[in-house]
């Protein structure tokens, strides 16, 4: 069968491979090359070596965005996972009424796009800030940062909760019964039985939240847009603004160099993730 299948490649392989080449491979390679060039459009790049990278790393705004993104990612990773796991533990209890309904509600914000979410919360948070007599989001860095954290909690807790519930339900019930027979308290069961058996799920959720935090763009753009004065600008938005919001021919190349650095960062995180999940699977 494989032999006769081989000659069918124009039908099976070509449409996807061709679109993939134009939608990913060519722009990727071109982007890599342009990060070493000075350009305003792709037709006339001028090779300038690594000076774009030097300028990108020397840009204080880029450094600020990097540390802000790192802090933001740590905060949301911890909060989302703790809250989602706690809710998942409650929902897998025996005899809790209505947990299906609650699950439906908590998951819902996930389906709404980042731009829409951002504006919903901008209106809400500005309303609250007015009531407590604080400055609005456009002038308030602290509120902007925590507003983004709350928005992400609202969007992602439901998603991670669903994955944790699936993980908890796959723990064999004899483990839990054995713990009960041995007289383990609920607290002991959680730490000695449930969480060790949940490690693969926890790894998945941790890395999903980390990459989501690192790549965040839409919500950032819609909620604060980086205001005030780029102080709430995460990495992805910083790259975007370097490309499209700064005057001068040199910024395009610097933006592309920043994008390459960003890409390498995300790839590194994913490599660590791959390692972590694989080593966990071996243990099982």
């Amino acid at each position: 069968m494989v032999k006769s299948l081989r000659k069918w490649w124009p039908l099976f392989l070509l449409p996807t491979a061709l679109s993939f080449a134009f939608g990913f491979v060519i722009p990727f390679v071109e982007g890599l090359y342009l990060s070493f060039c000075r350009f305003i459009s792709i037709s006339n790049p001028k090779f300038v070596g690594i000076s774009n990278y030097v300028a990108a790393l020397a840009d204080p705004q880029f450094a600020h965005s990097f540390w802000l993104t790192a802090l933001f990612t740590i905060v949301i990773t911890v909060l989302i996972n703790v809250i989602a796991l706690a809710i998942a533990l409650c929902f897998t209890r025996k005899g809790l009424k209505g947990s299906n309904g609650f699950r439906t509600v908590f998951f819902m914000p996930n389906l709404i796009g980042g731009i829409v979410l951002g504006y919903i919360w901008q209106i809400l948070i500005n309303g609250v800030l007015t009531i407590v007599g604080q400055q609005l989001l456009a002038l308030n860095t602290v509120a902007g940062f925590w507003g983004l954290v709350i928005l992400m909690l609202w969007q992602q807790v439901g998603y991670m909760m669903i994955i944790y519930i699936a993980g908890l339900q796959s723990i064999p019930s004899d483990y839990l019964e054995a713990a009960k027979v041995d007289g383990a308290t609920a607290w002991q069961t959680l730490w000695k039985v449930k969480i060790p058996n949940l490690m693969p799920t926890i790894t998945i959720c941790l890395f999903l939240t980390i990459t989501n935090g690192f790549k965040l763009f839409d919500q950032n753009l819609a909620l604060t847009g980086g205001a005030p004065d780029h102080s709430t600008e995460l990495l992805a938005l910083n790259i975007y603004n370097t490309f499209y919001a700064r005057a001068g021919a040199k910024w395009m190349g610097i933006g592309q160099a920043k994008a390459v650095i960003f890409c390498i960062l995300v790839i590194c995180i994913s490599m660590i993730q791959l390692r972590a999940t694989q080593s966990k699977e071996v243990q099982q």
Binding site: W8, G23, P27, Y119, C263
Partner: protein, 279 residues
């Protein structure tokens, strides 16, 4: 036992309150979407609609007729349907071919697909939009080819993961019975892969429907606006912001999503779980 019942009762109360808080942001938008423009300020966002501030359904009418919501909805629908259909058909065929033929080229291609899932969009945004411009892929009818290329990573990865679990004997039996590879695929493989089609379809639909940056950079956004572009345009534009119609737009954006979600909840949740576990 008694203690457990009490805990459960307390938890039910806690989660009921929490659920209401979870829905509140959407309810607030709904309430505000019936207010007059001038009645929506940061100070009055939490007030209910009164007789003086009520605008009836005027905001909705304005959003549909003046603000171009109907067109944006249409474009988003066309883009999402064509892109997801194309991704499902082409990527499942590609994944089957890649797994079954499995020569050097296929292996390299497969690793490239996996690699593409990791790469952030910012890396390609400038070159991809320039390329799309020069190739005439910048209309709502052609953008689906870009989505096929950019969405292929996840789709091929998930389909290939499933194809590997299908025993080769089934397909060989079909071949012996005289099926050509094309017939084998459509009559034997495709029906077996149905659950994966649903998962991939849901994940890609959620992505394309809500995507902002790709269509914003690729499409000529003075002519074609998708829903996220339209909503961003409301706030990003200079001058007076039409808050009432904007609220109506947000409401009309999230209502269809919520309805579809409530109807197909089980598929959506299981699709998302299987996508997460494999991704």
């Amino acid at each position: 036992m008694q203690r457990e019942k009490i805990t459960n009762r307390i938890l039910t109360v806690v989660f009921t309150v929490l659920s209401l808080a979870w829905i509140y942001p959407m309810v607030m938008i709904l309430v505000n979407s019936f207010k007059q423009n001038t009645a929506i300020t940061t100070g009055t966002a939490f007030n209910p609609v009164t007789a003086e501030t009520s605008a009836g359904i005027a905001n909705y009418i304005s959003a549909l007729t003046k603000q171009g919501f109907a067109a944006a909805f249409g474009y988003t629908l066309v883009i999402t349907l064509t892109s997801v259909a194309l991704i499902l058909v082409c990527c499942s065929m590609c994944a089957w071919y890649v797994v079954r033929v499995n020569n050097k080229f296929c292996k390299a291609l497969y690793y490239l697909f996996v690699f593409s899932m990791v790469v952030p969009f910012q890396m390609l945004m400038f070159t991809l939009s320039s390329l799309a411009d020069s190739m005439g892929l910048n209309t709502p009818y052609n953008i689906c080819f870009i989505y096929l290329g950019f969405g292929a990573g996840l789709a091929v990865f998930m389909f290939a993961g499933f194809v590997k679990t299908i025993p080769l004997e089934i397909e060989e039996a079909a071949t012996i019975d005289g099926c050509s590879p094309v017939q084998t695929f459509f009559h034997v493989v495709l029906p077996i892969m149905k659950p994966t089609y649903i998962s991939v379809g849901i994940l890609e639909t959620m992505w394309v429907w809500n995507d902002y940056l790709l269509p914003y950079l690729v499409l000529d956004s003075t002519k074609y606006k998708t829903i996220p572009i339209l909503i961003q345009y409301f706030r990003g534009g200079y001058g007076h912001v039409e808050l009432g119609p904007m609220m109506a737009c947000i409401m009309m954006t999230i209502l269809p999503i919520i309805i579809v979600y409530l109807l197909c909840q089980r598929f959506i949740i299981s699709g998302v779980v299987s996508g997460a576990v494999k991704g």
